[in-house]
């Protein structure tokens, strides 16, 4: 089995760790070897959370610069910041709804222009799928389901050796019962959005 390397970047509180745990469970169900690692030093205090997921026979649990097959960014500026993990063959998926870093609010630093950001990522990678995942989460009836929307988009790309059924089954096992319907809806909306992306 070919090794596939996925990086997920998010801001603390966006549900990155739950997304990884769903993917991990889906891999277990699919019989795909999975190893992952996360750096969540001070996630609760607004920092960046980065997860690396390695599918296939590799031993390593981390991913070097330039070696991600897929990058999923839950926040556009964080997607841009993680561009060093990509190469010309990487597929990138990003939410386009910004979460302003506090530094910008107090006047240290300028938030990147979203059009320019997409142009840059497009130029340097194989494919960019970019849409407002927060809006779709809201449409699904759960503003916190940005993670599930992006999971839907990720599975749509077909880069990972996981099927829709595996992921849905994993969502049943790993997400709270009360949110399952809205999470599944969010997943579908993300899947469809990625299908429409050019």
């Amino acid at each position: 089995m070919e090794t596939k390397r996925l990086i997920i970047v998010a801001v603390g509180g966006q549900g990155n760790l739950l997304a990884s745990s769903v993917l991990g469970e889906a891999a277990l169900l699919a019989g795909v070897p999975i190893r992952m690692s996360e750096i969540h030093g001070m996630a609760q205090r607004g920092g960046v959370v980065e997860s690396a997921l390695v599918f296939g026979e590799a031993h390593s649990t981390i991913i070097s610069d330039g070696e991600a097959d897929v990058l999923v960014g839950f926040e556009p500026a964080e997607t841009l910041r993680a561009l060093n993990k990509c190469n010309a063959h990487t597929v990138v998926i990003t939410n386009l709804a910004p979460l302003m870093p506090f530094t910008v609010n107090i006047g240290q630093g300028v938030y990147p222009d979203l059009d320019h950001l997409q142009k840059l990522i497009r130029k340097k990678t194989a494919k960019l799928i970019a849409f407002n995942a927060a809006a779709l989460a809201q449409e699904a009836g759960n503003v916190l389901a940005v993670n599930m929307v992006l999971l839907g988009a990720l599975i749509q790309t077909g880069v990972l050796p996981l099927t829709v059924d595996h992921v849905k089954e994993a969502m049943q096992r790993k997400t709270k019962k009360d949110f399952l319907d809205s999470n599944l809806k969010a997943f579908e909306l993300g899947f469809a959005a990625a299908g429409q992306a050019v």
């Binding site: 277990l28 999975i34 030093g41 960046v48 031993h59 060093n84 910008v104 609010n105």
Partner: protein, 622 residues
């Protein structure tokens, strides 16, 4: 039932490294566990804490790592299987106990887990704790993966009982915080009651006894080396004239690199998982069969130096390299590409690394540093202390906890830090040799951990400083673990005592003590001003529950605030408090009602009184 108690051998589950280690301990029949929380080890003890609530496992959060190890030493000397968990720098605190416990030994298995943090994701240094094994003479084991971590714990317990001494279990962050598939094993029965046999001539190391015990330690060392030679955790793979010796997570990067470079037939790998004492004969044998050897180990050249010495003993002159120009660094953690590239370079293989994207035209992405939570009481206290100290030249020795984040502007309330408790001790030194006003910050848990001796010292030696104890009722930074000052009833836990910080400070004889509520801004500033004027040691106890913890406890919430039309855009609030609930929109200051906790600190400092409670949001007034 707790998921780590699942009694279903053979089942495959995905576990975080720290969960796998806790599970390994459960499978080994661990009956007693102690810790002082510290990232990256914290989830191990969190799982023990949870398991202890529904089983007969005894677990405690001890005051500090030294106490944790002493408690554990007694349990293990009474024949009970015991685990003691800490982060790497915690072992510095426990080192005094460890060094002589190595002489005294144990009866029941004792595994001391030390979690190292290469690259310092959440630590103040990246010391390599393999040297503690060398220093103490105790055996050390190190897993390379999550799966192996689980299996290695029962092995370490057996080893400890065989040798009748503690075994050090070293991890690095990438073991603790990686997730992998683990196959559950059978759970050994927990034996929770032991017996202590009085045997002072072996257990009280007065010089005459200690001299005898050191002989035994060295004998154990030889026995341990024999076991390391045959250990399944020290193994060789592959074939060919080249050699790589590695340990821990580096082994994974080596294994992947060999596959990627397709050199399976050219290189043999010696993976060391039982790393002290090093298996000398095995290593010599490996060197004999190699033309050229590369050492791949994060951190210090611990194995490299030993391997070179072994080669010298054998009169071998083959090249052995690891750390150095163009090869590996003693800094930070390794990664797969770096290891692949270094292997290719060292063995002269053609290799083109992945082309990194050209990022020269990418604009600087604004930083997103971790910051004190919205409504964190530390922010209020820092602001008040700065206001009270206006016009004074100050030094702010700080300590280890969320409040270390007060380092960043605009709070800028941290000038010096070395270790847990150092705020207090260093204050005394600064006050003796400088003319600046010394104001130290320490959290409640850190005060219990190691702040008290420094305070006693300050009173006795007549130092002159103000110590601000930031008492937020929990060990916030590492995930809200309890400490001796916590009211355990709040967690619905019976059978605990509670120690009052104020009573301790009074008993020490601190001449000037003030308790403030940091959400009351003017009152606090006035009280702090007075304390700063005091000649001698003064203590301010700033009491307010950690807001994140309060949320978790579902304590009544305060009303959120908003910026009303009265705002004249001074930006006093955002510029001096920098609370993350603020944002600017169309050039006006706003408050995110979902983040605001209603602490009202900004409302009290706004010169226009423009910040008012939100009317509509339903909430219980505090």
């Amino acid at each position: 039932m707790h998921k780590l108690l699942t009694d279903n051998p053979g089942q495959k589950v995905l576990l975080l490294g720290n969960e796998a280690i806790a599970r390994g301990a459960i499978e080994a029949g661990v009956a007693f566990a102690s810790t002082y929380p510290g990232t990256p080890s914290s989830e191990i003890s969190l799982n023990f804490f949870q398991i202890a609530r529904e089983s007969d496992l005894y677990f405690e959060y001890s005051t500090n790592e030294k106490v944790a190890l002493e408690v554990a030493a007694a349990a293990a000397n009474s024949g009970v299987r015991t685990m003691c968990v800490m982060k790497h720098v915690g072992l510095n605190v426990a080192a005094d106990a460890l060094m002589t416990l190595a002489y005294v030994g144990v009866k029941g298995g004792l595994v001391v887990l030390t979690a190292d943090d290469p690259l310092m994701f959440s630590s103040q240094n990246e010391q390599d704790n393999r040297f503690y094994a060398k220093l103490s003479g105790l055996p050390m084991v190190e897993p390379s993966s999550v799966e192996e971590a689980k299996n290695l714990v029962p092995y370490a317990f057996d080893l400890s009982e065989k040798l009748q001494e503690p075994v050090l279990f070293r991890t690095t962050t990438r073991i603790n915080h990686s997730t992998g598939t683990v196959t559950l094993g059978p759970i050994r029965e927990r034996i929770t009651r032991g017996d202590f046999k009085n045997d002072p001539l072996n257990l009280v190391p007065v010089p005459a006894v200690a001299r005898k015990l050191h002989v035994r330690l060295l004998k154990n060392y030889d026995t341990a080396r024999g076991l390391a030679e045959k250990s399944e955790y020290n193994f060789t793979t592959g074939k060919g004239p080249w050699g790589i010796i590695c340990n821990g997570v580096s082994y994974n990067y080596v294994a992947d690199a060999i596959q990627d470079l397709q050199i399976e037939d050219q290189v043999r790998v010696l993976r060391i998982g039982f790393s002290h004492p090093l298996p000398a004969a095995l290593i010599k044998d490996f060197l004999q069969g190699s033309e050229k050897v590369l050492m791949v180990e994060e951190g210090e050249p611990y194995m490299e130096e030993a391997v070179k010495a072994l080669a010298q003993e054998e009169g071998l002159t083959l090249p052995i390299k690891g750390k150095g120009e163009g090869l590996f660094s003693r800094l930070y953690e390794y990664n797969p590409a770096q290891v692949r590239q270094t292997i290719a370079r060292y063995f002269g293989l053609a290799y083109t690394p992945a082309t990194l994207p050209d990022l020269t035209d990418v604009p600087q992405v604004p930083q997103r540093p971790p910051t004190l939570c919205a409504g964190c009481s530390h922010r209020a206290t820092f602001y008040e202390v700065r206001r009270a100290a206006e016009g004074m030249e100050t030094i702010f020795p700080t300590d280890i906890g969320c409040y270390t984040l007060g380092l960043l502007p605009p709070l800028s309330a941290a000038d010096f830090l070395i270790c847990m408790g150092s705020s207090v001790g260093t204050s005394g030194g600064f006050s003796k040799v400088t003319n600046k006003k010394v104001i130290a910050f320490i959290g409640d848990s850190t005060f219990f951990h190691s702040g008290i001796p420094g305070l006693i010292n300050g009173v006795f030696n007549n130092h002159e400083f103000t110590l601000v104890i930031l008492d937020n009722g929990t060990t916030a930074m590492t995930g809200h673990q309890p400490h001796p000052g916590v009211d355990m009833q709040q967690l619905n836990l019976d059978g605990y005592g509670q120690v009052s910080i104020e009573a301790i400070v009074r008993a020490i004889g601190v001449p000037h003590i003030t308790v403030v509520k940091p959400y009351k801004v003017q009152k606090s500033i006035a009280a702090i001003k007075e304390a700063l004027q005091f000649k001698g040691v003064s203590v301010i106890i700033s009491q307010e529950t950690c807001t994140l913890y309060a949320k978790g406890l579902k304590l009544p919430q305060r009303k959120a605030f908003h910026v009303s039309a009265k705002c004249k855009d001074h930006r006093e609030c955002i510029d001096t408090l920098a609370c993350p609930a603020f944002y600017t929109w169309e050039d006006r200051v706003k408050i995110d009602p979902n983040l605001c906790t209603g602490c009202a600190v900004c409302a009290q400092i706004c010169p226009e009184n423009a910040i008012l409670p939100v009317k509509s949001k339903k909430s219980v007034p505090a």
